[in-house]
């Protein structure tokens, strides 16, 4: 099973996430473009995800609600482009104390062979501060893996 590579360059306010999937491109595209399937993978440990809006076309909206222990947070945005090669959309999170922290997100799908697909996600932020805030917020959700994470950090030293 492939592993995602995440990079956050110091001098650019972006995050890139790349992973090679052992799946044909059309199947991967189906999983990211089918409303009923999104909730099944777009989630975190212990969360439930409800897709409230998903209109995969230029100007369409998306809105996913995550709930955990009775608390709900929404992730939402506007779709700029939705196709088997590329998805471009904005991304906002309702749990932030103020509005205006909009992220531009691009997903690119590339078929490497009949059964292998590269997925590249680029998230562009207004500033490196906002970008770092996003990285830190990923922490609580992924906390179940503390030990694994520390171990992998140690391996890189």
């Amino acid at each position: 099973m492939g592993k995602a590579t995440v990079t956050a360059p110091q001098d650019q306010s972006i995050i890139t996430i790349e992973r090679i999937f052992a799946v044909p491109k059309d199947k991967l595209y189906k999983a990211i473009s089918t409303r009923e399937l999104i909730a099944q993978w777009w989630t975190g440990p212990g969360y439930d995800v409800r897709v409230e809006e998903f209109d995969p076309q230029e100007g369409g909206k998306w809105r996913y609600v995550q709930s955990k222990d009775g608390e709900e947070f929404a992730f939402y945005g506007v779709i700029h482009e939705f196709g088997p090669e590329r998805v471009v959309q904005t991304f906002e999170f309702s749990g932030l104390p103020e509005r205006g922290h909009v992220i531009m997100e691009k997903m690119e799908l590339t078929a490497l062979d009949d059964n292998t697909t590269k997925l590249q996600v680029t998230q562009a932020f207004f500033s490196t501060q906002e970008r770092d805030g996003m990285l830190q917020s990923g922490m609580e959700e992924g906390m179940n893996n503390t030990y694994d994470v520390l171990e992998s950090v140690a391996k890189d030293l």
Partner: protein, 107 residues
Amino acid sequence: MVERNAYLDGLFGSLADPIRRDILRRLISAQYTIGQIASEYDISFAAVAKHLQVLQKAQLIIKQRRGKEQVVSIAPQALQDASYYLKQYESLWNDRFDRLEYIAKEQ
């Protein structure tokens, strides 16, 4: 380099115990008094205090006196490492992508 390894030995030694890992997990999202932490486990107050001592020695937590109580919080130096956050974010996406791959294969 030697210093860094000693630090990591402390880090991993202290994380080898499931209760210590669990304590650390709780402290990620909030601060607690020693009494509050102790009430979460079926072991004695003294045993919990001992676990906290190990975590403190590994620089994973800090204790601060607030009035009559000692408040325990996660130590920034152990976790505010940029690479730590990056790995954390990576693990979130890997988790998500593992499911995506599984679902896509079924299509």
